[in-house]
């Protein structure tokens, strides 16, 4: 008899252990902002850093009084972070979970291959009654593949505008080093971001700036043998070599180029590769590589923010920097749109946040003012860093 009772009891506990999405009874007014991204898998550093940045930013705001709500009361920002494992189905499931909770807005995702399907299930045009898509605002911090925010009017992004950055980079190269005329690329074909960055950004922009594009070598994101590709680059013998790949294969290609004696006069890298990973993997071969980035701890704000984030077990870089900025931007929007943060004003609050984000023409960033575009993207201030003696150093600050 006791067996059956034990069984029933444990079954009940197991069912109760299913975390119901949301529904906390708030004693004080809470402004719930949920983040999600890859917390496991090879790209987990993005999620870990974003989570730390969100928590650090929320902590700073809460310590200085919190957010002023529509009726004058003060609200605390509460951050939740979920793991989507860089998987499209799971990302969609997490978004639905977040939308069913008391969360007002999501800062997500970290993977571009999650962002695209996720934006696809959202309502395309605000107010379109015939569209059954999800109506929940998402303010992206990391997913950087070009042109995603235009998929839905509920999607906003605070990611660097690569067309702008690489355009300025190539222009600056033409001005400071006019003898460099040819460009050759190396591209990771099966990673959404890298692929788009070479074909849709670097190649286009370089052509416009008058550089001759000689072609590109291709590889896959887990390739280890670059002998063919390095040889193709050697044959092309370009002045400038642009590698649109993530640290693992960037280092592999650079090592092979060193082995075969391929020495272009200038090396350019992908925005995401301006991280410790690249220097850990091939500091020697990556020496002098130039990468445009939207974050470097070059002013007091940025340094203070970096210190705050490291207390939460993360580091502030160009990706998590956006998460930090997003919390402050959302604070501004919440206060401007007089969000109430009450359980019965949930959907109205979400619509207010969407409207507020859509209205923004300019936001504050860690490096300066960020412009917002009509298709809900950002044009962030940026600078060029280059690898020098195993560290990233600022090379040139064009727009500051």
């Amino acid at each position: 008899m006791s067996h059956a009772r034990v069984c029933a009891f444990s079954a009940a506990i197991a069912l109760a252990a299913w975390t119901m999405p949301g529904s906390a009874i708030a004693q004080e007014r809470q402004v719930k902002i949920t983040g999600f991204g890859a917390l496991s898998g090879v790209v987990r550093s993005f999620g870990v850093n974003s989570k730390a940045a969100l928590e650090a930013a929320a902590d700073q705001i809460n310590k200085s009084g919190g957010v002023t709500l529509g009726d004058g009361a003060k609200g605390k920002i509460v951050i939740d972070y979920h793991d989507d494992r860089c998987n499209a189905e799971e990302g969609i499931s997490v978004l639905r979970r977040v939308a069913s909770s008391e969360s007002l807005v999501a800062v997500a995702p970290t993977c571009s291959n999650v962002a695209e399907p996720m934006f696809g299930i959202m309502q395309k045009k605000f107010g379109d009654a015939g569209d059954t898509g999800l109506q929940f605002p998402v303010f992206t911090d990391v997913a950087i593949k070009i042109g995603l925010a235009k998929i839905s009017e509920w999607a906003f992004r605070n990611v660097p505008n690569e067309t702008e950055m690489y355009g300025t980079l190539f222009r600056w190269i033409k001005e400071t080093k006019p003898d460099l005329k040819t460009l050759y690329g190396g591209v990771e074909e099966d990673f959404a971001h890298s692929r788009a960055s070479w074909y849709a950004v670097m190649k286009e922009v370089a052509g416009k700036e008058g550089l001759q594009v000689l072609g590109e070598s291709k590889w896959l994101l887990n390739d280890t043998n670059f002998s063919n590709q390095a040889r193709e680059a050697k044959k092309a013998s370009p002045d400038i070599m642009a590698i649109a790949a993530h640290p693992f294969t960037t280092c592999g290609m650079l090592k092979e180029m060193a082995r075969q004696g391929v020495r272009p006069k200038l090396l350019i890298g992908l925005t995401s590769s301006s991280s410790m990973e690249t220097l850990q993997g091939c500091a020697g071969e990556a020496e002098t590589i130039i990468i445009p980035t939207s974050f470097a701890p070059i002013n007091a704000d940025a340094q203070a923010a970096a210190a705050a984030v490291s207390k939460y077990n993360g580091s502030l870089d160009l990706h998590s920097g956006a998460a930090w900025e997003n919390v402050f931007i959302l604070k501004r929007v919440i206060e401007a749109e007089k969000v109430m943060a009450k359980p019965d004003t949930l959907q109205a609050d979400r619509e207010k946040i969407r409207a507020g984000l859509a209205k923004l023409a300019e936001t504050d960033g860690l490096l300066g003012k960020t412009k917002r575009t009509p298709d809900r993207e950002a044009v962030k201030p940026y600078l060029f860093v280059h690898a020098k003696s195993g560290k990233w150093e600022v090379l040139h600050t064009p727009s500051l």
């Binding site: 496991s40 090879v42 870990v48 887990n222 002998s227 063919n228 693992f248 410790m276 993997g281 091939c282």
Partner: protein, 290 residues
């Protein structure tokens, strides 16, 4: 023409890495007639563990190979104990699935331990051997040499020692072997230790050839390793070596002719060609005849 030869040579040398992985798969299959899907993952884990060991103990760079070998052997025994020993023989699918579970577990442990970021691996042999424009990588030649030494060692072990005799007996007829007093458990455990150690060495060599280790390598090495094992013939040691070189060379040639996005399609087609015309693999027995 030179480019073609160079591609071929580069591919052949890189194929030595596939040979080493294929050897491990084929060894376990030869004795237990089961596949250990977690093999490539355990090999890389052994390489990571070896690196951690030499860093902690402050040993010189070359010590990473024996360290990885020891770590790999340990992981091999653990996999045997957890995935094969306890599961009754009447459920072959269960062992397959449990090795898959082990693969996921090892992969995730490595990702957790390294935060997903690639880890720098010491290289032992530098420099290129060349003749004019034609160059061969020194470190890949070292890997090739080690693969040959290992194959020779394994063949000696199998055909000139009592343990090898016992292993061959178990592989041919487990029941008869037990009747002769050979402990099945003992032989299986030794096979896993041996293949695990081999895997550790393979992982360390892969790390030094690529210069970095990353969890990203687990999936392609598993798939290529399995393809090499099947093309070479399940259970055949020289088959694994030859097939590894063949796949490495073919891969590079396909890439040379058709580009990287189509390369693997042709590698798969190569496998199908073998399966259609020689289902037993190059050196294996034709299953239709057995």
């Amino acid at each position: 023409m030179l480019d073609l030869l160079q591609s071929l040579a580069d591919g052949l040398l890189f194929g030595a890495i596939y040979s080493l992985i294929g050897l491990g798969f084929t060894l376990v299959f030869g004795v237990m007639h089961k596949i250990n899907m977690a093999y490539a993952a355990a090999s890389l884990a052994g390489a990571y563990a070896g690196l951690t060991l030499i860093k902690l103990a402050g040993l010189p760079a070359w010590a990473v190979i024996p360290a990885a070998c020891a770590a790999g052997a340990l992981f091999g025994v653990i996999i045997y104990g957890v995935c094969f020993k306890l599961i009754p023989l009447s459920h072959p699918l269960a062992t397959l699935m449990s090795t898959v579970g082990m693969l996921l577990l090892i992969d995730e442990i490595v990702v957790h331990a390294t935060d997903g970021m690639p880890v720098n691996y010491p290289t032992f042999v530098h420099g290129m051997v060349g003749y004019g424009d034609f160059m061969l990588r020194g470190d890949l030649m070292f890997v090739f040499f080690v693969a040959l030494v290992v194959m020779a060692g394994l063949i000696y072990l199998l055909f000139n020692t009592r343990l090898g005799l016992a292993t061959r007996a178990v592989s041919q007829h487990p029941v008869a072997a037990r009747l002769c007093g050979i402990s099945l458990d003992h032989v299986n455990a030794v096979t896993f230790t041996l293949s695990g150690g081999l895997g550790g060495i393979a992982g360390a060599l892969i790390g030094s050839a690529v210069g970095m280790l990353s969890p990203l390598l687990v999936a392609p090495l598993t798939v290529k390793g399995l393809i090499v094992t099947v093309i070479g013939g399940l259970g055949s040691i020289p088959g694994a070596i030859v097939a590894g070189l063949l796949v490495g060379a073919a891969e590079n040639l396909f890439q040379f002719f058709r580009g990287v996005t189509e390369r693997d399609i042709y590698v798969m087609l190569l496998l199908f060609v073998f399966l259609v015309f020689r289902p037993g693999g190059m050196f294996g027995t034709d299953p239709a005849r057995s």
